[in-house]
């Protein structure tokens, strides 16, 4: 089963860190035919005692594994100028949310960037876990990292996403455009 994917773009600047759109839907592939069954042949109508007549039909209900995740809105994180003699403070943004539907067990959400930020800049993220799952705040890179684990049989909306951007003093200002990165969240098997 293939589902559309959406992405979130994150922008970082030395003095202005910006997060743009993002949204990710990631899903597990599955093969419905793997558990397909061949129903028995349809019987003919059956005359019954007492002036009754019956017909039968075989009806199969199949529920595929469904894994859907989506996140809201674009994010912009400006990192303000620091006072003389002090390091730049990390800036946190917690206005984004995500929603997910999982009708299977033992799934997790991983996160990654499309490309690394320049040296001296980093972006971390923490997701509010759905009931029964656990979450960890992680610095994002191009290698996927586990953000939420133990996702089981859940449909939930408005779960929080908290980004934290940081740039150290070695990073040159990039202006208001910032530096954008795409964050991908993927729902997959643990």
């Amino acid at each position: 089963m293939v589902h559309p994917q959406r992405y979130k773009t994150v922008g970082l600047a030395a003095w202005a860190l910006s997060l743009f759109s993002a949204c990710v839907v990631a899903l597990l592939g599955l093969s419905p035919s793997a558990w397909a069954q061949t129903p028995p042949p349809l019987p003919d109508a059956i005359p019954l005692a007492g002036n009754q007549v019956s017909l039968s039909q075989t009806v199969t209900v199949r529920v595929l594994e469904i894994n859907r995740i989506a996140i809201s809105g674009d994010v912009l994180i400006p990192i303000a100028e620091a006072e003389a003699g002090t390091p730049l403070s990390p800036v946190t943004h917690s206005g984004s949310t995500y929603a997910l539907t999982v009708n299977g067990s033992d799934k997790k959400i991983v996160g990654s960037l499309d490309t690394e930020f320049p040296a001296g800049m980093e972006l971390s993220v923490e997701l509010t876990p759905p009931p029964g799952a656990t979450a960890t705040r992680r610095i994002l890179s191009s290698d996927p990292v586990d953000l939420v684990k133990g996702v089981n049989l859940i449909a939930a909306t408005n779960l929080g996403i908290t980004y934290t951007g940081h740039a150290d003093i070695t990073v040159a200002p990039t202006g208001t455009a910032g530096i954008s990165r795409r964050v991908t969240f993927t729902l997959t098997s643990n």
Binding site: A34, L55, I66
Partner: protein, 149 residues
């Protein structure tokens, strides 16, 4: 795909279209929402309730280890002009259920004695129900019976 017509003391019940095995596949859900129901309305039946007394059509099912929900509704598409029958709302098909009425007051000698209808099946599953990969499919043998009321 249908079956042959059957006559016992002149009453008949048969599939006009469809009637073969049906698979209802639930495969979609909005992020954060419950799975979307699957439906099928490809089966049409014909009845002739020449029983000499008011008749009715009932339904039941056998489905071992049922995990998901299945419903059926008979939507009458034609019967004799000026005749009346009582259509019943959607019936939930549960393994081991007693016969449930889906059409009643089919009066003898009236034009409603004969008619056709569409069987509309609806399958439903909640996230908490899991999926077929874990539980296997639900396979129902749904039986329709025309009998005296």
């Amino acid at each position: 795909m249908g079956t042959s017509a059957t006559s016992v003391d002149a009453q008949r019940l048969e599939f006009l279209t469809g009637g073969g095995p049906i698979t209802l596949e639930i495969s979609e859900a909005p992020p954060g929402g419950e799975p979307v129901d699957a439906t099928d309305a490809g089966t049409r039946i014909f009845w002739d309730a020449n029983l000499g007394v008011p008749a009715k059509l009932v339904v039941s099912t056998m489905a071992t280890s049922q995990h998901f929900r299945l419903f059926v509704e008979l939507q009458v598409t034609s019967y004799g002009t000026g005749s009346m029958v009582d259509m019943h709302p959607e019936v939930e098909l549960v393994d081991g259920m007693f016969d449930e009425d889906i059409l009643t007051n089919i009066l003898p000698g009236s034009r409603s004695q004969q008619g056709t209808g569409l069987l509309r099946y609806r399958a439903s599953a909640r996230v908490a129900d899991g999926n077929s990969q874990t539980h296997g499919d639900d396979t129902h043998t749904v039986t329709y019976t025309l009998l005296a009321q």
